[in-house]
C-alpha cells in the first residue's frame, strides 16, 4: 500500500441544485476524498445521499457549485472543449438502469461503436466491426448480437452492453453508478465478476457507487459512506466493516439483513429509527443528528469535520472528536 499513486483528488466538492426561488438541494456538500490508481473506491449510501451526483460531477457531467476535481494533475472542470473530449476517452461511466441507458433506436453494434466513432479510433468499417466483436466477446455476448436492438436483451445482457460501450474507448477510470442495483441476484454476480476481471486485465480504476453494503464490501478496497450530501466515514473496507465509528455507519451495517437465518435470529439491535430527511435547505450541524441516539447540542449547531482517528480511517462525528 506504500507505492500507491493518487489518480483522482476530490477537493471540497459541492453540487447544489436550485429548486424554486428559495430552496436549494445540497446534493453534494463539501466532499473530499482521493482515489488511488488501480483500486476500487466504493461510495455507499441510501437514496438521496448524493452519491450518484457526486460520481457524475467528478466526470464533468454536472458543473460543480464549488470545489475541484483533479484527475492525474488536471482540473476536470477547467478543461477547454478539446481536452474535455479527450478526458471522456480516459474516464467513463456505467449506468444504473440498463433500460434507459441504451438508445432504443440503435443497434448494439452502433451503441458500442459510438465512442470509437466520436474519438476516431478506427481506420475503417472492418476494423470497427472487429473491435465491436472483440468487446462483445469480452463481456460474454455473441457475434450475432451486433445487429440486434437493446429491447431484445435481458437486463443483465443490456448492462454488459453498457459496460462494452464504456470499454470501447479504452478508459482507465470508470464510474460504476449502481451497475447492479436493477439486476437479479445471479446476474449481479455475473456483472461484478466481469467488472473485477476487467479491472485485473486492463488495470482499471473504479469508483463504485451503490447502496448494496454487502456488495461494496466485497468489491471495494476502500469505502466512503455518504449521508445527505456529506461523507461521514471513510476507511479501508475491512476496517470499516469491522470497526465502524460513525453512528450512521453502525446503524446502516446492522440494518442489512444477512442471508443466514441463524445470524438473523440472534440479531437484537433495533433498526435505525426515523426517516431520511430531505436535502432541501438542510439545517446547520451534523445531518445525521435528527436520527442519532447520541446527538448532543453541538451536533445540531456545527458540522463535524472529517478527521483521521486511526490510520487511514476518517470519521466526521463530534463524538469521535471529543469523547
Amino acid at each position: 500500500m506504500t507505492d500507491r499513486e493518487t489518480l483522482l483528488e476530490v477537493r471540497n466538492l459541492k453540487k447544489h441544485f436550485k429548486i424554486g426561488r428559495k430552496s436549494i438541494v445540497k446534493a453534494v456538500d463539501d466532499v473530499s476524498f482521493d482515489v488511488f490508481r488501480g483500486e476500487t473506491f466504493g461510495l455507499v449510501g441510501e437514496s438521496g445521499c448524493g452519491k450518484t451526483t457526486c460520481g457524475k460531477t467528478i466526470l464533468g457531467l454536472h458543473k460543480p457549485t464549488g470545489g475541484e476535481v483533479i484527475y492525474d494533475g488536471m482540473d476536470v472542470h477547467a478543461l477547454d472543449s478539446d481536452r474535455k473530449k479527450d478526458f471522456t476517452k480516459i474516464a467513463q461511466i456505467v449506468f444504473q438502469d440498463p433500460y434507459s441507458s441504451l438508445d432504443p433506436r440503435m443497434t448494439v453494434g452502433d451503441i458500442i461503436g459510438e465512442g470509437m466513432d466520436i474519438h476516431h479510433l478506427c481506420k475503417d468499417k472492418g476494423e470497427r466491426e472487429e473491435r465491436v466483436f472483440d468487446l462483445l466477446q469480452t463481456v460474454g455476448l455473441n457475434r450475432e448480437h451486433i445487429n440486434r436492438f437493446p429491447h431484445e436483451f435481458s437486463g443483465g445482457q443490456r448492462q454488459r452492453i453498457g459496460i462494452a460501450r464504456a470499454l470501447a474507448v479504452e478508459p482507465e477510470f470508470i464510474v460504476c453508478d449502481e451497475p447492479i442495483s436493477a439486476l437479479d441476484v445471479s446476474i449481479q454476480a455475473q456483472i461484478v465478476n466481469l467488472l473485477m476481471q476487467l479491472q485485473r486485465e486492463k488495470q482499471l480504476t473504479y469508483l463504485f457507487i451503490t447502496h448494496n453494503l454487502a456488495m461494496i464490501k466485497y468489491i471495494s478496497d476502500r469505502v466512503g459512506v455518504m449521508y445527505l450530501g456529506n461523507l461521514v466515514e471513510l476507511a479501508g473496507s475491512k476496517q470499516l466493516y469491522e470497526m465502524p465509528y460513525h453512528p450512521y455507519t453502525q446503524g446502516l451495517l446492522s440494518s442489512v439483513p444477512v442471508p443466514d437465518p441463524r445470524i438473523e435470529r440472534r440479531k437484537e439491535t433495533a433498526p435505525l429509527r426515523g426517516e431520511i430527511p430531505t436535502s432541501i435547505n438542510p439545517p446547520p450541524g451534523c445531518r445525521f443528528a435528527s436520527r442519532c441516539d447520541y446527538a448532543r447540542e453541538v451536533c445540531y449547531e456545527v458540522m463535524p469535520p472529517l478527521i483521521e482517528i486511526e490510520d487511514e480511517h476518517f470519521v466526521a462525528c463530534h463524538l469521535m472528536a471529543s469523547p
Binding site: 441476484v185 439483513p257 437465518p261
Partner: protein, 343 residues
Amino acid sequence: MKNNILLEVRNLHISFSTYAGTVQAVRGVDFSLNVGETLAIVGESGCGKTVTVKSIVRLLPQDVAKIHGDNVGITLDGEDLLSLEEVEMSRVRGKRIAMIFQDPMTSLNPTMKIGDQIGEVLLIHKNVSKKEARLQALELLQMVNIPNAEQRIDQYPFEFSGGMLQRVMIATAIACDPEILIADEPTTALDVTIQAQIIELIKNLQRERDMGVILVTHDLGVVASMADRIHVMYAGQIVERGTADEIFYSPKHPYTLALLKSVPKLTEDKQEPLYSLIGTPPDLINPPHGCSFAPRCEFAMKICRIAEPSPTLFGGYHESCCWLHHPKANKSGVPEILLREVV
C-alpha cells in the same frame, strides 16, 4: 403446525397469451400455508413468483391470463377460490387475504386522503359508520408506527415518504384482520435502514395477529430474517422447498446453491469469488425440455435435457427436483453439501 393448513395451492398452471406466443409463466406449482407462519417464495424476476401470488387473489388480467392444470385448485380453509363468483371473491380479497406491493406509491390513490383510503376498506368490508372508520384508521396508523398519526391521517400520499407509504399500505392491509397477508417484494423499493423498520413491523404484526404471511422476494437477506419455510422458484416451477435452515444450510438443488453463493455476505470476511451463473433464465414461451435449469447447470447430465426430474424427499418437508439425487447420477465434482444426507 402441520395440520393447520390455511391456504392450499394445487397444480397451478398460468399462461399468458402475447403476440409472440403463449408464455407459460407458472408450470405446476403446489404449496400450502399454515396458520401463523411465514412462507417465502424466492426467485429471480420472471420466475413466476408474483404471478403465482396474484392468482391467489385473482388480480391477474383476465383477458390474457389463463389458469389451468389437472385438478388445479386454490383453497382457503377448504373453500375453492377459483370457483367463486367475482362478487364473492371481492369479499375474500382485502378481508381474508390482503396484499401489499413493491411500489406503495402506485397502489394508493393520489387524490384521496390517507385516512379515507384506509377507512374505505373498513366501510366496504365491515359494517361501520364513517366516524367509526376514521377512528379505526387512526388506530391502525398508530399501530404501524406512523408518528403524528392525528395529523397524518388528513394528508395525501405525496406528502409521505416511500417507507411511510409502505406503512400506510400495511395499515390498509391489516384493517380487516386478514388471515393471510401476501407481501410482494415489500421492501425492494426502500432504503436499507427503512427496510429494517418495515421487516420489524411485519414480523411484530404477524406475531400479534397470528397471520399467515406469504413473502415474495428475491432478497435472500430478507428471506433469512423473516421466513419459516422457503420455496425456491425457477422458470415457473418450484425447484426446492424446505424450512429456512434446510434451504440455507443444506440446499439440495444446484440453483438454490448458486443463489446462495452468488451474494456476498456482510458477516464473512475472506470471501471466495462469487458464484456466477452464466446466461439468463429460459424464455417461457419455449421452455427447455427436461429440467428448466439444466442449460445453466454445470452438473447437468444427458437425462436433465430429456426428462423433468421428479421431487426427491429429504425427510420432513424438504424436497428438491433434481436428477443429481438419482442413485445412478454422476456425482463427481458435485459439491458435497448438495449430496449430504440430512441429519
